[in-house]
């Protein structure tokens, strides 16, 4: 016997908070598992890795907030986030690939990222969707990523404007990435997210400036975490790229035999 909502009368009805917990958060996993890798994607540094919060990172801790304001008449907060989730890779700057599930952003999904760093260096890493609801979603990084932490994408309506926001809470994962961030990496990251937000606004027919606010939450580096360098996606991706000619020759020989 069911009520008008299709809920069996003798079943306990979960309260609103419990239902939100179950649908919005990723299920607990100890290590990441990449289910599908598209052809042409470099899939390194994700499978079997643990997630890493800012607590596990090495460098100074930063909170970076990027915002763009769009007239609410053009898009509501909920519609903006829905579009962002469904078309997330489309908004990334050129030269960077986000290989996520075709169904869009959903809690627990793991995506492979192929990024282009200065000097045309290719870097393979990934993210897991930690959280997603109607007005926000959060991607968390695995060990070995450039930074340990997460990025929350959200939208809110303030008076007659929809404010689209990307907020990063992070520490550089290891001493090499910390050095890279200090020597221009922070600036490059700012440009990356400013371009992303500009692209989101363009989707809704709006052009505007991105407001960027950068706060150093913790000046201290966590020197005890220097060993994170062994999992560095930059080092592992570089070795992988150097080995590409050798792998091509090996493939060619095995086809002939």
């Amino acid at each position: 016997m069911s009520d008008e909502n299709g809920v069996a009368a003798d079943q306990p009805v979960p309260d609103e908070s419990t239902a939100r917990e179950a649908t919005n958060w990723a299920k607990a996993v100890s290590r990441l598992n990449v289910s599908e890798v598209p052809e042409g994607a470099m899939n390194l540094n994700v499978e079997g890795r643990r997630l890493a919060s800012p607590i596990q990172g090495f460098g100074k801790m930063w909170q970076k907030t990027y915002q763009i304001r769009i007239p609410t008449a053009k898009v509501s907060a909920v519609d903006l986030v829905e579009t962002w989730k469904q078309n997330f890779p489309d908004f990334w700057p050129e030269g960077n690939q986000f290989y996520g599930p075709l169904t869009g952003i959903a809690p627990g999904e793991v995506a492979v990222l192929n990024m282009t760093l200065p000097g045309k260096m290719k870097l393979s890493t990934g993210v897991m969707v930690l959280y997603a609801d109607e007005e926000s979603f959060t991607l968390m990084t695995p060990e070995g990523h450039m930074f340990a932490g997460w990025i929350t994408f959200s939208a809110t309506e303030v008076e007659d404007e929809t404010v689209a926001q990307a907020q990063v809470l992070m520490r550089a994962s290891d001493p090499i990435f910390e050095l890279g961030l200090t020597l221009g990496g922070h600036k490059q990251e700012n440009v990356f997210w400013e371009e992303t937000l500009t692209n989101v606004a363009k989707r809704f027919g709006h052009e505007g400036d991105v407001d960027t606010a950068v706060v150093c939450v913790d000046q201290k580096r966590q020197w005890g975490r220097w060993r994170n360098i062994w999992q560095s996606s930059a080092i592992r991706s570089t070795f992988y790229m150097f080995g590409a000619p050798g792998r091509a020759i090996k493939r060619g020989l095995s086809r002939k035999s």
Binding site: S17, T18, R20, E21, A22, N24, W25, A26, K27, A28, V29, R50, L51, A52, S53, P54, I55, Q56, M61, Q63, L130, Y131, D133, S136, T138, M140, W150, T152, S154, Q167, L169, V217, D218
Partner: protein
């Protein structure tokens, strides 16, 4: 939940610990209320901040971010952060985000205060 409907009460527990009762939701909008509660809890000589999650209604990823920020502030003051009253779901979230490596989780207020050295 609007910020003004959250209440984060601060209770003394001995001379060296304070308990913050997390009542309502913790989201990015809770920053002012949570940091105000932390400020009230951080008297001279306080070595442990105990977070009581029993009355928690809901926490999103913005809330987890706030806890990390609170943790950094506490570490700067050489304070430890402990927690109790987490539901099974949020215990798993603490494990998933590896917040449990820095926030000591206990089953009850008694256990948390005992770990904080409050008899």
């Amino acid at each position: 939940m609007p910020e003004e409907t959250m209440t984060f009460e601060v209770r003394p527990a001995g001379d060296t610990a304070r308990v913050i009762d997390i009542n309502g939701d913790i989201t990015a909008q809770s920053e002012g209320v949570l940091m105000d509660a932390y400020g009230r809890a951080s008297d001279d000589g306080v070595k442990s901040i105990v977070l009581n999650f029993s009355p928690l209604d809901y926490m999103n990823s913005g809330g987890i971010g706030l806890l990390v920020t609170l943790l950094v502030r506490a570490q700067r003051q050489h304070q430890s952060v402990l927690a109790y009253g987490l539901s099974e779901h949020y215990r798993q979230i603490f494990e998933l985000t590896r917040l449990d490596e820095a926030v000591h989780i206990h089953d009850s207020e008694e256990a948390a205060l005992s770990a904080a050295g409050v008899s």
